[in-house]
């Protein structure tokens, strides 16, 4: 830490708060917070944690900055496109607050590295964008007994909760699996790339996650323990529900380090297998053949609209009702990123078995358009 005067000046506006004081500031400086995911939720969470003077911050992300991230990830600038998010986040945060220590983990959290990374932190913030990571992080935090600040968004709504924290009232701490015991199947839930998200929403939810972490560290206020807060950005409605530990949750959790390392979180969230997938070049070879029927399983009004081949639209939400009307012997289904189309392919297979050749476009139409950038209406 630099001279006391500089420190006092930087944090003066929060130090003077009732109940916060220099003691609160010291607690922040001594704390260690790991933020998993440096995207829409992670950026604001990281910015406020760093600005507030959390002394040790870890950032985990294996992704690179993309143009479509910038509307909700203001930690990055246009010149950062293509560079590591973890590294760029560290760079920006170090400029924001040179008095704190930031460690960038330019990697994906896996069953093999998660425990070693999480172990050294006091609090974990789940700012990821997929169920595999969410269940992995939850299970690791339960195993290591680390408080987990959960946040998630979809379109105009967000959820925040503090899991795995024993409050003074005692009782069994609630974890993510008490709320949602098992991950949904592919296609049941859309991610941001498929469902869209209002840019400011993860900003609000990520800042709320930082707020929960700061309250937890400093001991001020009331944290979201045993409750889930939902926020609707369209009508400003906040709805808080209370959670309780569920019988049977412990059966779903790995009980030891070995059990955790043996878990397959990728599979958990993709119960339909990927044998139907075809890559872009195979798709391009097949797409104009007369014997092939191509089906867009996205909901109506989803963009972009591809051009250059014929297709019909059967949204996933009504796919099973319409499955009997699919006549061709060869069917290719596609969606935005290739997840919902896998579900559609699985349903086609359940209905038609080997009597049809069934394919799902890997990476969805967004991936196809990367290779065919002019082919959209």
């Amino acid at each position: 830490m630099k001279s006391d005067n500089t420190i006092y000046e930087r944090y003066q506006r929060q130090i003077i708060l009732k109940g916060f004081g220099e003691a609160g500031q010291r607690k922040l400086f001594q704390s260690k917070v790991l933020v998993v995911g440096a995207g829409g939720l992670g950026c604001p969470a990281l910015q406020y944690l760093a600005a507030a003077g959390v002394g040790n911050i870890g950032v985990v992300d294996d992704d690179v900055v993309a143009m479509s991230n910038l509307h909700r990830q203001p930690l990055y600038s246009t010149g950062d496109i293509g560079f590591s998010k973890a590294e760029k986040a560290k760079h920006s945060l170090a400029k924001l607050n040179p008095g704190i220590k930031i460690i960038a983990y330019n990697k994906r959290l896996t069953t093999q590295n998660a425990l070693a990374i999480i172990e050294v932190y006091d609090i974990v913030i789940d700012a990821t964008d997929n169920f595999s990571s969410r269940y992995l992080i939850n299970d690791a935090c339960v195993l290591l007994n680390k408080p987990l600040v959960y946040g998630a968004v979809s379109q105009f709504e967000g959820q925040v909760a503090l899991f795995n924290f024993q409050n003074e009232k005692g009782g069994i701490p609630v974890n993510y699996r008490d709320l949602f015991p098992e991950p949904p199947n592919v296609g049941e839930i859309l991610n941001c790339a498929e469902a869209g998200v209002l840019g400011v929403l993860p900003g609000i939810i990520g800042a709320m996650q930082a707020n929960e972490a700061i309250k937890l560290i400093t001991g001020i206020g009331k944290v979201l323990v045993n409750s889930l807060l939902t926020y609707n950005a369209l009508n400003n409605q906040v709805y808080e529900i209370s959670l309780s530990a569920r019988q049977g949750t412990s059966l779903l959790l790995p009980n030891t380090k070995d059990e955790f390392e043996g878990m397959d979180y990728g599979w958990l969230c993709a119960s339909t297998n990927r044998r139907f997938e075809i890559d872009v070049s195979s798709f391009d070879q097949l797409r104009n053949a007369t014997f092939v029927e191509i089906i867009d399983v996205r909901e109506t009004n989803e963009l972009p609209i591809p051009i250059g081949f014929d297709y019909t639209q059967i949204p996933l939400s009504t796919f099973r009702e319409n499955i009997a009307g699919i006549n061709n012997k060869t069917v290719i289904v596609f969606c935005q990123t290739g997840k919902r189309s896998l579900q559609a392919a699985q349903w086609l297979f359940e209905t038609y078995g080997e009597s049809k050749k069934i394919y799902s476009l890997q990476g969805g139409i967004l991936n196809w358009l990367k290779n065919n950038p002019t082919q959209q209406a």
Binding site: G37, G39, G40, L41, G42, D126, A127, T128, D129, N130, F131, R134, G151, A152, V153, S154, Q155, E157, G158, Q159, L179, F180, P184, E188, I189, L190, N191, C192, A195, V197, P202, L228, T230, Y239, E240, I241, S242, L243, S244, R246, Q247, E299, S317, T318, R320, E321
Partner: protein
Amino acid sequence: MTINIILFGQLTDITGAGSLTMKDVTDTDSLVVTLQIGYPALISSKFVIAVDKKVISGNTPLTNNCTVALLPPFSGG
């Protein structure tokens, strides 16, 4: 007996509304079945149920004017 139902996330895309009311259902199981008959896409949707702001597990009796919330998991970030 009137039950207030509020829906979150993409469940509202299925029902077309964020809130509904239902008469003469006595427990959460029959409420869900009635909803699924009206909105078949709910059959393949995952959600937790909260009755009067408390998450429940298992079939739970409903009382007049209570509020049932259906919350799907969100993965986005």
